[in-house]
């Protein structure tokens, strides 16, 4: 690492370790000379010099703080001197007990590493402010409709314009549309697909992202003015080589020319990462008064709170405005409410709860790890009572001894923490890979100074936490009496043993909660994978592309192109079927609309369904069964009657108990709204993901409703082959059409389950670690108690107890600990179970199979932990045991 600034970490270290007055002077001198050195040596060497001098300064400064003359042992040295003595003593004692140190370090590395890794993700998503100017003032404004079950919904443009006009609590409101994309002929003349967003003209002002070149948009450009775009900093660098003259240049997107009017600031990405182009909405002024402009909900407004206004005030105001709009436009705005939520909450959305659960789960693992270490140290401290008593007799005060013990545990924690940071770095990288789409793309997930601070904090906290228990023992023991204890009676004091039991019970309880949670998630994920999507996923791949409207002006052109492409692909060996749709199954959106049925009175409430356009090969290719009537055919066309196919679910809702084939439906009640004849009923596909029940669907045919944005579905050929074939044939037909995305359908399924998979994998791993630690803790306590009771067991055996009886003593003890912990864990689980409910699919938090499984796992763990100590107990030789006095 080389830079023109002195090494920051070193400077922080200086600030931390030197007294303030000295620090300023030393750091100033070092920085001055560092800069001097930069002139005739490399930054790396200057940095190395800086670091070396800083370390020397710290060392001399510390050593120098020792007074030259020592008067009495009591005030010998300062606190720092004592600390360094304690640390040295602790390190020396570690070398005598390497096994313990390794065990503790590993346990802690795992606990601190996992906690830090999860914190890194939580920090990037939930805690860190969004990377926009004054992000705390940004809010999402959404529409809500209880009657239709809408929450956090998109807004209609007319309502958005009304809010913007009337709101005073929001300084301004802007809006963006769905993510869109354009084909862009890049510098090497190959068509490239650019992700973009359409936005309201004030977008850059409200987001606080002043373009680094040129300008944002102006009012006129939304209302049909010149076609302009703002490009991302990344695209500017990539495609224009950072040309300072880029503003004013014309680029063709989808073969339509647009003028670049600005370049966004570096790193700015909204509403999504990877956006390269922003273009203004293109609305027409006549529309503003049209009913559909208030009825169609397709934009996402984002507002900036006025100075000094909080979220709840703005929320109340928007609700009032929405209520006013209900009264003014009853036809379109019936029961239509609105609200405001911080943009951060909005962006994080549904992932908040699973992420928080992960945070809790990993904290539980850390607690179990701490309890385990406390247990180990407590056992060790019991063995050290004599040593401590002697030191106390030689004049060490109780406070001094406690400090010594705490120093030891903090030193241990520091070892674990250092290893833990390494573990965390690996785990964070793994987590990001594993998470895929599950983590909202707000800020990059990186381990920065904040994360390191967190790791340091939990290291200290755990060190003090598990160090407390051995220290407490000092308070229990009358040390002078300890010295008189004979070694054979060990500790007569039952309190340390009780403390250790308590710790193990706590470990078991936490492990029970984790195991139960992991079990539920596993069952739920299993159920999700077992869901029949309604179509066959086998060897199905999708390729998305869009035909430019400028060259494919009408239906005939699109149809000709597409038929040609299908013919070519079907001729490819291994391809079984090819089809196209505008919307993929599992990625559908809800339409809410009235349905008018010929010859019947209109229904009271609108229907919610998905509307899709598919070609006539769709149902055959996807393996969706035609249950009644017929599929679309190539004979359906613009000149034949308009036909639709509905799915089973919608048929059951609209035509319960009847045959819908032959019925006529239309979406509006005006005379010029066309009637659509139902010609078939098909099986239901999952529309919104595997975990959502299928909704009603209405299928239209591409022969009557042409589409330019295509999801090509290819079945049969192995993945790579299909991709190559599509690439080849598409390029042969029209080289200027880029493929936007190419995905195996399996990937779409697993993508839709990415959060579930992440949660399940991590919870299972955490549960396994907690279980292992609890078993270790249990083993430790049992082994210790067998050792302590060797004499007692010896006497029992001498008096005629058999192996079974001895076994029973140990197993009973294990059972008592496991059952007590299990009961506590069950109670704790009962308290948090409801949190899980929202994340579970077809499994209830009280699932008997899962809970039975947990019981079995815990009992098995108990027996496993009891096995070795029990065997040792049965082998106690009474003669040896009694002689060992």
């Amino acid at each position: 690492m080389s830079s023109a600034e002195p090494p920051r970490l070193t400077t922080r270290l200086l600030a931390l370790l030197l007294p303030g007055r000295v620090f300023e002077a030393v750091a100033g001198d070092l920085e001055e000379e560092f800069r001097e050195r930069l002139r005739h040596t490399s930054p790396r060497r200057a940095g190395a010099w800086y670091r070396r001098q800083a370390i020397r300064s710290i060392v001399t400064c510390w050593r120098g703080s020792r007074p030259a003359v020592r008067t009495s042992p009591r005030d010998r040295g300062g606190p720092l001197q004592d600390l360094s003595l304690d640390v040295r003593f602790a390190l020396r004692s570690f070398t005598r007990n390497p096994g313990l140190v390794v065990l503790v370090t590993l346990t802690l590395a795992l606990g601190i590493g996992a906690t830090t890794a999860i914190f890194t993700v939580l920090d990037a998503t939930l805690l860190r402010p969004l990377p926009y100017s004054e992000p705390e003032r940004l809010v999402a404004v959404y529409e809500e409709n209880d009657a239709r079950g809408w929450t956090w919904n998109q807004a209609s443009p007319a309502n958005f314009l009304s809010w913007r006009e009337r709101s005073t609590t929001l300084e301004d409101i802007t809006a963006h549309g769905f993510r869109v994309g354009w084909a862009f002929a890049g510098p090497d003349d190959r068509a490239e697909w650019l992700d973009g967003a359409t936005v309201f003209h004030n977008f850059f002002e409200v987001m606080g992202a002043r373009p680094v070149l040129g300008r944002g948009f102006v009012d006129d450009e939304v209302w049909g003015g010149a076609r302009v775009v703002v490009i991302s900093h990344g695209l500017w660098q990539r495609a224009f080589g950072g040309d300072p003259e880029v503003v004013g240049q014309i680029i063709a997107l989808d073969e339509i020319e647009r003028e670049i009017v600005g370049v966004a600031p570096p790193g700015f990405a909204f509403p999504d990462t990877g956006i390269d182009v922003w273009a203004p909405f293109r609305w027409s002024r006549e529309n503003v008064e049209a009913a559909w402009f208030r009825r169609a909900h397709f934009i996402w407004p984002v507002g900036r709170l006025a100075h000094g206004v909080d979220e709840s005030t703005a929320h109340a105001e928007i609700q009032t405005i929405a209520a006013g709009l209900q009264a003014e436009y009853p036809e379109t705005n019936e029961s239509m409410s609105a609200g405001v939520v911080s943009l951060q909450r909005w962006v994080v959305g549904d992932t908040r709860r699973p992420l928080l659960i992960l945070g809790l789960a990993v904290s539980a693992v850390l607690l179990v790890a701490c309890a385990n270490i406390a247990n180990l140290l407590l056992a060790r401290a019991t063995g050290r009572r004599q040593e401590l008593a002697v030191r106390s007799a030689l004049g060490a005060g109780r406070a001094r001894l406690v400090r010594q013990l705490l120093t030891e545990s903090v030193c241990l924690a520091a070892l674990g923490g250092a290893a833990g940071v390494g573990v965390a770095a690996l785990m964070t990288r793994g987590l990001v890979l594993l998470a895929g789409e599950a983590i909202p793309p707000t800020s990059p997930v990186t381990m920065d100074a904040r994360v390191m601070g967190f790791a340091l904090f939990i290291t200290l906290a755990t060190g003090l936490g598990f160090g407390l228990f051995p220290s407490l023992q000092l308070g229990w023991a009358r040390l002078s009496e300890v010295m008189n204890e004979s070694s054979r009676s060990g500790s007569a004091d039952p309190r340390p043993a009780r403390a250790r039991n308590l710790l193990v019970v706590a470990e078991v309880a936490l492990a029970v909660v984790l195991v139960a949670g992991a079990g539920l998630m596993l069952r739920s994920l299993d159920a999700l994978y077992a869901v029949d999507p309604g179509f066959s996923l086998d060897n199905l791949v999708t390729a998305e592309f869009e035909l430019p409207g400028s060259r494919y002006g009408d239906q005939v052109a699109v149809e000709t192109f597409f038929d040609e492409l299908v013919d070519r692909l079907v001729a490819t060996p291994g391809v079984v079927g090819v089809s196209a749709t505008d919307t993929l199954a599992l990625e559908g959106t809800r339409w809410t609309s009235d349905l008018f049925i010929d010859g019947r009175p209109p229904a009271d409430t609108p229907y919610i369904f998905n509307r899709r356009i598919v070609d006539h090969r769709y149902f055959t290719t996807l393996g969706v069964p035609v249950l009644r009537g017929r599929s679309f055919t190539a004979a359906d066309g613009p000149d034949t009657p308009d036909v639709i196919i509905i799915n089973e679910t919608l048929a059951g809702q609209v035509f319960p108990g009847e045959d819908p084939v032959g019925e006529r439906i239309r979406f509006g009640d005006d005379d010029d709204d066309p009637w659509l004849t139902v010609v078939g009923v098909v099986g239901s596909e999952r529309v919104e993901g595997l975990d959502a029940n299928p909704w009603g669907e209405i299928y239209l045919t591409t022969r009557q409703e042409p589409i330019w944005y295509l999801n090509l579905l290819v079945r049969g050929a192995a993945g790579g082959q299909a991709e190559a074939a599509v690439q080849r044939e598409l390029a042969a037909l029209d080289p200027l059409v880029p493929i936007i995305r190419f995905r195996p359908f399996e990937e779409i399924v697993s993508g839709s389950l990415s959060m579930e998979r992440l949660l399940t994998t991590l919870l299972t791993a955490f549960a396994a670690v907690a279980l292992l630690l609890a078993a270790m803790g249990l083993y430790g306590v049992l082994a210790y108690s067998v050792a302590q009771r060797t004499r007692e067991i010896g006497i029992r055996v001498a008096l005629g107890a058999r192996g079974d009886d001895v076994l029973r003593i140990v197993v009973k003890r294990a059972l008592v600990l496991v059952v007590t912990g299990g009961a506590l864990g069950a109670a704790a689980y009962g308290a948090v179970a409801s949190t899980f409910r929202a994340l579970l699919f077809e499994v209830s938090p009280g699932d008997p199979l899962t809970l039975g499984g947990v019981l079995l796992v815990m009992l098995a763990t108990g027996f496993a932990a009891a096995y070795l100590p029990a065997r040792r107990a049965t082998r106690v030789d009474p003669v040896e045991a009694l002689r060992s006095e």
């Binding site: 000295v22 300023e24 001198d29 920085e31 001055e32 020397r56 300064s57 710290i58 060392v59 001399t60």
Partner: protein, 112 residues
């Protein structure tokens, strides 16, 4: 009154020589150029701090400058008590060493 060590005497002389410009880096460079000893800033300030508590030197902060990352220079000057102590130590050493320089050189080379 404790006697001044060699290091402390060097520091006091450096401060004396530098006059108005006596601050950390200048002091270290002065000592380095005359005695070829590379001292760490920490060592310099710790010793000066100690001298200050004894009233031998006084210090004050200058203005923050950009090349120091906005940190201020800490300047020193020798106080009367410091001058007394240094004078005494230096003169004592001079008195004891008078005429012994050549003898020392020879001894060092093992000639006598």
């Amino acid at each position: 009154m404790r006697r001044l060590g060699e290091f402390e005497q060097m520091l006091l002389f450096a401060v004396l020589r530098l006059g108005d410009g006596a601050y950390g880096t200048a002091i270290r460079q002065e000592i380095a150029s005359r005695t070829a000893q590379d001292l760490s800033p920490g060592a310099v300030y710790t010793a000066l701090e100690r001298l200050e508590t004894r009233g031998y030197v006084a210090s004050w902060f200058g203005e923050p400058t950009p090349e120091r990352g906005g940190k201020r220079k800490r300047f020193y000057r020798v106080e009367a008590a410091g001058a007394t102590a240094l004078n005494r130590a230096y003169r004592a050493l001079l008195a004891m060493g008078e005429g012994q320089a050549e003898h020392l050189d020879l001894l060092e080379r093992g000639i006598e």
